[in-house]
Every structure is written in C-alpha cells, then in structure tokens.
C-alpha cells in the first residue's frame, strides 16, 4: 500500500510543475498592467514603465518564472497590487472563510445524503424511493448558480430568513456572538449547496444497499436472527462507509468550483470571491496563487480519494 501511495505522490510532481508553468504563462498573457489606476493618475507611461522594470515585469518569462518559483518556496507569494498586502496573508484570511463554508457544506451533504441513500435502498421501488429519486434527479439537472440566485431571492429577500451578504454581521461581538453570526451567514449557502450535491452519494449508497440486501453476509446475519435495523446499521452501512468517504476527496473539486459562484452570489468573502475580484483588477499575483492553490487542492482531494479506495478495493492498487 505504501508503495502505491508513494508512486501516486511521485506522479503528482510533474503535474504540479506543469500546472505552475501553465498558470504562470496564462497570467503573463493577461492584458493590462497592474499599475495603471493604482498610482497617481497624472503619472505618465514613463513612470509605469519604470515600475514594471523594477518589479521585473520586463524580464524574459523563464527568468520571471524562476524568480516566482524561488519566492514560492520561501513562502513568498508576492504582493497584491490591488489590496497592497502580501498575497499569502490575503489568501490566508479568505481561505479560512472558504474552508469553513466548504466543510459546513460537506458535513450537511453527508447528513442529508446518508439517511436518504439508506432509506431509498431499503425501501427500493416504493413511494419514498421514488420521491428521493425525483429529488436527486431535479437537483442534479438544475444549474447550481440558478438555484443559488433563486434561493437567495426566496429565503434571503422575500422571506427575510437569512442574511444576504457577507460572512459576519458588523454588530456581532463576543466569542459566541461571532461564532453564531458566522454560522448564521453560512447557513443558507451551505444548505443550498448541500441539498443540491447529494446526488452522487445517494445514488451510490442506494445501489450498494440494494446489492448488499441480496448478498450472502446479509442472509447469514438474518439467519442468525440479527434484527433488521441492526443489519442495515451495522452490516450494510459499515460496508459502504469507506467508499462513501472517498467521495469526500472528489467533492473538493466540486466545492472549490462551486465556491466561485456561491461566494459571488452571497458576497461571501472567501477565495472564490477574491478570485473574481482579482480578475477584474488584473491582480496577477493573486490570480496565479489562487489557480495554483485550487489546482493543488484538487490534486490532494483526488489523492485522498484514491488512497481510500485503494484501501477498500485491492484491485485498484495494482497499477
């Protein structure tokens, strides 16, 4: 198993290098320069050229890339031209918000999906199963951002149940007050995100349960006189738990992709919103750092899932 993990990690290295080159080149190709608009408006082009030169923006690309990589390994991601702050700090603050929201969404997803999948599998073909199937089908086809906008409108504006912007209210004070306010702000985006991303887990768990119902180990358990409830809870559910956990790693990609929409729509100050803002300000340093970070997180998520699946199913390990 360790050999497999090691090989899997080694394969990641060229991927990360390739990603960093790609990201860097793309950022270089972006139009505009980061100084116009952020310095004295009367400054002429000469001054901008001067700024570009001292910031090394006229060096050949491989030299700039090398400098960037060297700085990266020193933990220096550069300065944000827009926010006048080090990128590491900037992303650090935002990453915390995104992390909490993503974690919250993921926990809610599992909380909703696990009972549904178990229930649908247990009562296969009956009315609850049909209802759950329709629910997963509807949530699967509707584009995520449309749901967020409509959800924000209904629950945030019309019913006024939830706050519509930000991650914390300005009046929140004290330890518990801060936490409650944060939680309250995450509730609507988290719930919508969770309700609309259960489809994979529910469908997988349902088919697992249906398969397990007819398997020998369940028949044995029944023959021994294990109560039906315990069969589902201790035998079937336990067996499907690890593959289900592996979905967690894969869902990181979806959560990060979704964070761009969720955070823009709810004006939630996380990495997704930071990215969208940085694009409009042409803030290269932030953009490159964020794309690289998201890419690496995707990779780590897939790695995690592959390792879990490798533990569960030895057949996957062979390569």
């Amino acid at each position: 198993m360790w050999k497999v993990i090691l090989r899997r990690v080694l394969i990641m290295i060229p991927e990360i290098i390739l990603l960093s080159i790609l990201v860097f080149l793309l950022a270089k190709m972006m139009p505009g320069d980061p100084f116009t608009g952020s310095i004295n408006p009367r400054a002429g082009t000469a001054e901008i050229h001067h700024l570009m030169r001292i910031n090394g923006l006229y060096d050949p690309w491989y030299q700039q890339y090398w400098n960037w990589i060297v700085h990266l390994f020193h933990g220096n991601l550069g300065q944000s031209y827009q926010y006048h702050e080090s990128v590491a700090n900037l992303i650090g603050q935002r990453a915390e918000n995104t992390l909490w929201l993503s974690l919250f969404t993921m926990v809610l997803t599992y909380l909703i999906a696990l009972p549904m999948g178990m229930y649908a599998g247990r009562h296969e073909g009956k009315l609850p199963d049909t209802i759950i199937r329709i629910y997963t089908y509807v949530t699967y086809c509707i584009p995520f951002f449309v749901i967020l906008v409509v959800g924000l409108w209904i629950f945030g504006y019309v019913l006024n149940w939830f706050p519509t912007t930000g991650s914390i209210s300005a009046t929140a004070s004290g330890f518990s007050g801060t936490i409650l306010s944060r939680f309250y702000h995450m509730l609507l985006p988290g719930l919508l995100g969770a309700l609309f991303s259960t489809v994979n887990i529910v469908q997988y768990l349902r088919s697992e349960v249906i398969d397990a119902k007819r398997s020998d180990y369940v028949k044995t358990a029944r023959a021994k006189g294990v109560p039906e409830k315990a069969i589902y809870r201790h035998h079937i559910f336990r067996n499907s738990l690890l593959p289900i956990a592996a979905f967690g790693g894969y869902s990181i990609t979806g959560l990060l992709n979704g964070s761009i929409f969720t955070e823009s729509i709810f004006s939630y100050p996380g990495m997704g919103l930071l990215f969208v803002n940085s694009i409009s300000y042409r803030d290269y340093t932030v953009i490159t750092a964020l794309v690289l970070l998201f890419g690496i997180l995707n990779l780590l998520g897939t790695l995690l899932s592959d390792i879990i699946l490798g533990i569960v199913d030895p057949r996957i390990r062979i390569k």
């Binding site: 390739l18 793309l26 086809c141 906008v149 504006y157 992709n257 929409f261 794309v291 890419g295």
Partner: protein, 314 residues
C-alpha cells in the same frame, strides 16, 4: 403444412416469410426510442416543449434587431410586465425583457449545442482510442486526462476569457470545449475497454481489419446508445456552463444578451427585491429547459437498456 417433397418456395411465400422475420426481428434503435416516448406521456410533452421552444426562439430571433433592442430607451425605464406593450416588462435600460429572453435563449442554446457537439465528438474519439489501444497510448492519454482533471475548470475558463480580447460566441464555445470533454471520455473509455475484449473485435483483428475501421465502424456503433444518452445528458448540463459564466460576467460580451446576463440582473439588490421580472423569467426558463432535456435523456437511457423499458410489448 407442406410436404417435404416441395423443396422450392414460391415468391409469395418467401415475401410473407421475410415480412414475418422482419416483424419479429429486434426493432431499430429509433423505433425503440419512439415507442418509449409514446409510452411515457410526460416525456413526449417534454420533447415537444423543448423542440418547439428551440424552433420558436431560432425563428423569432430573426425578426429582432439585436443592436436596436440593446439600445437604452429611458422612457421605458423598468416598465412593469404588460405595461406599454412590454410583455415581460423592461430592465433599467428600458430594454424589453421578452426580446432579450428570445435572443438570449437562442445564444445560450446555440452555444450549448455547439459545446455539446464539439466536446462529445472529442470525448468519444478520445475515449475510443484510449480504450482500444491500451498500453502506452492509453497511459499517456490518461496522464493528460488526469492533468486536465486537476485544473480548476471555472477558473481556467475565466482566465482564458480574460486573455482573449475579441472573443465571440465561437471562441467561447471552443474555450468551453477544451474542458468539458473529460467526463464523456472517461465513460467511453471504460466501455471501450470492456468492448475491446469481446470476440468480434478479436476476430476483426485476426482477419487483419484496419484499427480505425474496428474503432469507428465496429466498436462505436456497438456503444452508440451510450453515446446518445451521454450527449443528451451533457446537453442539459452544458446549458448551465455558458449561462453560469455569463452570469459572473465572463461569458458572452455585455452587449450580447444571454440567459446568464439576464439572471445577472439579480446582482442588483433593487432588481432582486422589487423588479423580479428583470431576472426571474430567465431563471425559470433555464430550470424548465434543463429539467425537460434531462428527462428526455432519462427516457433515451431507459430505451437503451432493455430491462428498464416501459414500452415492452406495446
């Protein structure tokens, strides 16, 4: 019963036998799908709605002068629906929502169709080649796949859209297509792997058939039902791709109406609270369209799988 001495079959009898054989043979794929639709009334309605809608917006948008429509008309500022002949009201620029909806639907659906065609073709070809050849070719193709999977898709598209200066609907479709073939290729590859191990492929290889012929004339027709199902379902998904990015402001240029830019009206707190008609129709349209198209996809999937058909024996 005819006696054994009558060895020859008269033409009349032959014709009757042929007809009988045809009746009993497996019906064509098109016939199966059609009978499945006939058995499922809601699916038929969904199909009719989608087809009629696409035809309607395509024809109607020919009669709309887009540049004139997008001009600001201050007298119609935020007209309510049905006021002054504005069927669905007007936005802050006094532009008719109805007309924008029609042209926007045409643009969004057009891009979704283009994206589906390009990405499905590419993904199918990729999956077939990767799955058929296996070994070294497959290994490299899978590494490229892994690399593409790692890329944060939405971010990459936004970055590319910012880099390309004068982009239009076609460049946009091509950019999207770079990323949205991955799912299809994975699905097709795994089916091709299974299919390549079957006897008919081995027989073709032994008799020296050209590899390309085996891939595209023998394996591909055998997995065609999977391809059709996947294409229909990804069409529904692809509607969300362009509209989502246009919503964020990185899709179609601002002067080109799209369902996404219409929903983006909701970004203005005034619009989302008071002037619902500026964005809600577009949102509802996307929801209905996506549901209808995926429902059609489900029906086609069902007809591809004989054990799930509802129209058996009808």
């Amino acid at each position: 019963m005819k006696s054994l001495s009558e060895q020859t079959i008269d033409p009349q009898e032959l014709k009757r036998l042929t007809q009988e054989a045809e009746r009993q043979a497996t019906p064509s794929a098109g016939k199966i799908v059609w009978s499945e639709f006939k058995a499922d009334r809601p699916a038929l309605i969904a199909l009719i709605i989608v087809v009629c809608f696409i035809v309607f917006v395509t024809i109607a948008s020919f009669f709309i002068n887009v540049s004139q429509m997008m001009n600001t008309n201050i007298t119609a500022y935020l007209n309510r629906p049905l006021q002054d002949g504005y069927l669905l009201g007007a936005d802050t620029g006094g532009r008719s929502i109805m007309k924008q909806l029609i042209v926007g639907s045409r643009n969004s659906i057009g891009i979704a169709i283009g994206l589906t065609l390009i990405s499905s073709t590419w993904g199918v070809a990729w999956g077939l080649i990767s799955g058929y050849y296996g070994g070294f070719v497959d290994w490299w193709m899978q590494r490229i796949y892994d690399f593409m999977m790692m890329l944060p898709m939405t971010m990459m598209i936004i970055v590319l859209v910012t880099i390309i200066h004068n982009y239009n609907a076609i460049t946009l479709t091509l950019i999207f297509s770079c990323f949205y073939w991955l799912g299809t290729s994975r699905l097709i590859r795994s089916r091709t792997l299974a299919e390549s191990k079957k006897d008919y492929v081995a027989a073709s290889i032994t008799s020296g058939t050209n590899s390309w012929k085996i891939i595209f004339r023998e394996i591909m027709p055998n997995i065609s039902s999977l391809i059709v199902v996947d294409t229909t379902l990804s069409f529904a998904e692809n509607i969300g791709v362009e509209t989502g990015l246009s919503y964020l402001g990185f899709g179609l240029p601002p002067k080109t109406p799209s369902l996404g830019t219409l929903i983006a009206n909701a970004n203005d707190p005034n619009n989302i609270t008071q002037y619902w008609w500026t964005w809600l129709p577009a949102a509802l349209e996307i929801i209905i369209l996506c549901l209808a198209i995926s429902y059609i996809g489900q029906v086609i999937r069902r007809s591809a799988d004989a054990s799930q058909r509802q129209a058996v024996g009808k």
